[in-house]
């Protein structure tokens, strides 16, 4: 059993060495780890899902949110003080986030449409049942 009073000063000292604002950094760490978890879901889905269209579900959604969360987390982690420069940095990173928010679904749709016009038919229910039996 680890005592909280013993751990807290160590953490505080470590944070003092690194610089930055403590509660903001904690939120940033949490967001980064959450993004990593969702990206794990995407990676496993890319391997496990049966056909191209279902893999697209994993990639199109997981990619958007995990990238957004990780970038937002790093925007908070790198914020050292509330000066103009660090605010500008946060706004820049948020510009990337906004850009990805618009473009990720668009490129997903473009690939999807290209595949659909290439006579790449999606799996039907019976094909899937056959595959599950194997």
């Amino acid at each position: 059993m680890i005592h909280v009073q013993a751990v807290l000063p160590v953490v505080a000292e470590a944070v003092d060495k690194g610089g930055g604002i403590f509660p903001l950094q904690l939120i940033g760490f949490a967001l980064g780890v959450l993004g990593l978890v969702f990206f794990l879901g995407t990676a496993v889905g890319m391997i496990r899902f049966p056909d191209f269209y279902t893999r697209m579900h994993a990639a199109g959604k997981g990619d958007t949110l995990s990238t957004m969360l990780m970038l937002a987390g790093f925007a908070l982690v790198t914020m050292e003080d509330f000066s103009l420069g660090s605010w500008l940095l946060v706004v820049k990173i948020m510009a990337i986030v906004l850009f990805l928010y618009i473009t990720c679904p668009t490129s997903t749709h473009a690939l999807m449409r290209a595949a659909f016009e290439d006579d790449e038919m999606p799996l039907e229910e019976k094909d899937l049942a056959k595959r599950k039996k194997k």
Binding site: G19, T67, F74, T78, K92, I93, L111, A115
Partner: protein
């Protein structure tokens, strides 16, 4: 603290790109490969920000990340359009062949 967090995050991100490389390696259709390349490109933008945090020059690396995200989007659009056009060309050739057979 920030350094250790960046190193752990970057390594984990890099390890999770390996499934995507597997998808590029086996992927049955070209679209699977392009999808995996697209996902890796998006994650590379994040990786650039992480590297910037490690070097302490985030203000510089953020610009690279923006450029990389832009380039990634454009490449996805261009490749999907290209594959699309190639297909219609193939259809055209098949039609021409059918005409020749008829004649």
């Amino acid at each position: 603290m920030i350094d250790w967090f960046s190193i752990v995050m970057g390594t984990a991100l890099f390890l999770m790109m390996i499934p995507m490389v597997y998808r590029i390696w086996v992927g049955p259709t070209p679209f699977d490969r392009m999808l995996a390349v697209n996902v890796i490109g998006t994650k590379t933008a994040v990786l650039l920000v992480i590297i910037g945090t490690l070097f302490g020059r985030v203000d510089m690396f953020v610009d690279f990340a923006i450029a990389y995200a832009l380039l990634n989007f454009v490449s996805a659009i261009v490749v999907s359009r290209y594959l699309n056009r190639t297909v219609s060309l193939r259809d055209m050739e098949e039609k021409e062949k059918a005409k020749e057979v008829e004649a």
